[in-house]
């Protein structure tokens, strides 16, 4: 009986090809836009999580809370204290520095370029790998000796020196009020896709460079904050809580006096904001599905009226209310399921083509596809119910007499 109904439905759909297609169009557009919008959202979320992975998902910052009023000298970190933290959490800390950065103009001959300087330790390359193309990375000697050596990327080197290989070149910069000569010891190449570059705001006319974090002490010879990269297998929540508690204890404060921010929390937040956004826009797109459903109902009503006589014949031969009902419901469900399938191909296709043009890996979740198909079938059945029940309830003799 099911197969019978299916073949009857397909036959009826085939008889009016153009009309069936136009009916499906509403569903095609609805499902297509829902799929593409949700997939674009998922793709963006995926990109952001990739960016966070690049930035270092295991990292966290800790500093005295901005809400604490009686900030003491001891709330800042000394080099010795950082050394001790590294020792206490030796198994868990992969990297630690002061998260210090500053902007300053760098001058080479007649060229002056605004630069962002980030203070790092020598093993920063272990947690944030870069491809060195010229010279070397900063080393222990640079850090401990507070040498004014820098490492920069090829773009920055080109900005300031006009060439990528700037090893050995020097420039002047005023950092924390002191004007000094800095020497380039190494140049690396950035690896980013177009989208990441756009988001991270690389380029333009600002350079960036790594300098020993020991050069960026403030205030006096202390650091305002610490930045920690945990090891790969570390339980981040527990580790950062213990770190916070330890720092508070050594500085005679409560843990809640310390401000802790982890990349994980940040990412979760961004992700949920973006998830909410794409759900909201997807919801708006789903309204077009409703419009598509009404289109199906309209056509099914026409179809029922046109086939009143056929319904009468079927009833005269013994079709029950349910038989007629199922026949028309099958038809509307098939119409919208076909529309849904085409819509998925179209929506996913658009996203895929767009993604491959922009060089971004596209995410089309199977769950979204399943949801869209079920939703379109439900739309078909829901909007088919009224026409189908109208057909099914008709009195056989009235239906047979219908002209």
């Amino acid at each position: 009986m099911l197969i019978e109904n299916m073949s009857m439905a397909f036959a009826a759909i085939r008889v009016n090809k153009m009309r069936s297609f136009l009916t499906m169009l509403g569903i095609i557009i609805g499902i297509g836009s829902v799929i593409s919008i949700v997939s674009i959202g998922d793709t963006m979320r995926n990109l952001f999580s990739d960016i966070y992975k690049d930035v270092g998902i295991t990292q966290g910052y800790l500093y005295i809370g901005y809400w604490v009023e009686d900030v003491r000298e001891s709330d800042y970190f000394t080099l010795d204290e950082m050394e001790r933290i590294r020792d206490v959490f030796a198994d868990e800390i992969a990297y630690i520095d002061s998260n210090a950065y500053t902007s300053a103009d760098a001058s080479y001959r007649r060229t002056t370029v605004s630069f962002d300087f980030s203070g790092i330790d020598a093993n920063y390359i272990d947690v944030q790998p870069v491809d060195m193309v010229y010279g070397r990375y900063l080393n222990e000697g640079d850090i401990l000796g507070r040498r004014r050596n820098v490492v920069m990327d090829t773009d920055s080197a080109r900005l300031l020196f006009g060439e990528e290989n700037a090893v050995g070149k020097t420039f002047r910069a005023t950092i924390y009020g002191s004007t000094d000569e800095y020497t380039v010891v190494g140049v690396y190449r950035k690896n980013m896709n177009a989208f990441q570059a756009l988001l991270m705001g690389s380029g333009g006319d600002t350079g960036s460079a790594f300098i020993p974090y020991t050069l960026l002490t403030w205030p006096n010879d202390t650091f305002y904050a610490i930045r920690v990269f945990a090891g790969d297998d570390v339980d981040l929540t527990s580790f950062f809580a213990r770190l916070q508690a330890y720092v508070a204890r050594t500085k005679n404060r409560q843990p809640q006096d310390w401000y802790l921010q982890t990349a994980m929390d940040e990412m979760t937040m961004v992700d949920s904001v973006m998830g909410g956004l794409s759900a909201a826009v997807g919801g708006i797109a789903a309204i077009s599905l409703l419009v598509g459903g009404i289109g199906i109902m309209n056509i099914m009503l026409v179809s029922v009226t046109e086939r009143t006589r056929e319904i009468g014949i079927r009833k005269s031969l013994g079709a029950k209310t349910r038989d007629i009902m199922i026949q028309f419901l099958t038809e509307s469900a098939i119409l919208s399921a076909c529309g849904g399938a085409i819509g998925i191909l179209l929506g996913a296709g658009v996203v895929w083509i767009g993604g491959s043009l922009a060089g971004i890996p596209v995410v089309v979740k199977p769950s979204v596809v399943v949801l869209a198909v079920s939703f379109s079938a439900v739309v078909g059945i829901f909007f088919g119910i009224y026409p189908a029940s109208r057909a099914a309830r008709s009195n056989p003799i009235d239906a047979l007499r219908y002209e």
Binding site: M1, E4, A11, V15, R309, E310, I313, R314, K315, S316, L317, G318, A319, K320, T321, R322, D323, N395, P396, I397, L400
Partner: protein
């Protein structure tokens, strides 16, 4: 109220034949008790049938005659359970049809009645075979059973070669024979035909009537509406209608010439 065990059997899929579908094998297949049909067109009320009381016994071959507008179709539609009387009772095989729900009436039409219409009423864009299968589809017969039985019936009406033809590819006589095959699908005890030859030429009409004669000889109860004397001549009983009333009801000696009896092959 359906007995609990019956409902349980229904749930388990082992449906017991409902009481209204079991064949009573009563002598009187059709009993009409003061049947009245009033058509309410809104502006005027038309009296279609005026207190018709009538009995048709199992195995009878009856012709209903009368002028156009005399109420023949009105009666046939009620006999076929396509319509309901305004007043009075229609007992089919001992069951009062007024007590049945629309779906139960569907089952009655499906199992007990084969209706043949003047305008054939085949489903368009659907092959002759599929059309004949339809009542069996609604009787939930298996695909194989349907196909075999439909082919057998098409053979019986001489159309096995046209099984895959669409209705619009068949002549009027052929369409009516497909319709008759379809009416026989579930082997109903009652065959009703409302002017089955009304749209056919004389030769095709005679072939159709010969088919009905043979069905009657095989034991079916056949009621045929016609306003042609030579068609009515095939039957054993002629009931005449006028203005919604029976004006004459008499036996007839069916005219079946020897020459027609021997004719097995029917061509159209």
């Amino acid at each position: 109220m359906i007995p609990y065990t019956d409902r349980l059997a229904g749930l388990l899929g082992r449906r017991k034949t409902p009481p209204y579908l079991t064949e009573n094998l009563s002598e009187d297949l059709i009993v009409l008790d003061r049947l009245v049909k009033i058509y309410d067109t809104g502006t005027i009320k038309v009296l279609g049938l005026k207190k018709i009381s009538l009995t048709i016994r199992r195995g009878e071959f009856v012709a209903i005659m009368g002028k156009s507008g005399s109420g023949k179709s009105t009666l046939m539609n009620i006999l076929g359970c396509l319509d309901q009387p305004t007043l009075g009772h229609y007992y089919l095989d001992g069951v009062d049809t007024a007590s049945l729900s629309p779906d139960e009436l569907s089952e009655i039409r499906n199992h007990k009645i084969g209706f043949v219409f003047q305008s054939f009423n085949l489903i368009s864009r659907t092959s002759a075979l599929k059309n004949v299968e339809l009542p069996m589809t609604y009787a939930r017969k298996s695909k194989r059973e349907r196909r075999e039985r439909a082919m057998e019936l098409l053979k019986r009406v001489g159309l096995e070669a046209r099984a895959d033809h669409m209705p619009n590819e068949l002549s009027g006589g052929q369409r009516q024979r497909v319709a008759i095959a379809r009416a026989l699908a579930n082997d109903p005890p009652l065959i009703l035909a409302d002017e089955p030859t009304g749209n056919l030429d004389t030769a095709a009409s005679e072939e159709i009537m010969e088919l009905f004669s043979r069905l009657h000889q095989d034991g079916a109860t056949v009621v045929v509406v016609t306003h042609e004397e030579n068609i009515a001549a095939f039957t054993e009983r002629i009931i005449r209608f006028q203005d919604g009333e029976v004006v004459s009801d008499r036996k007839n000696r069916p005219a079946l010439p020897e020459s027609r009896r021997g004719k097995e092959e029917i061509s159209c």
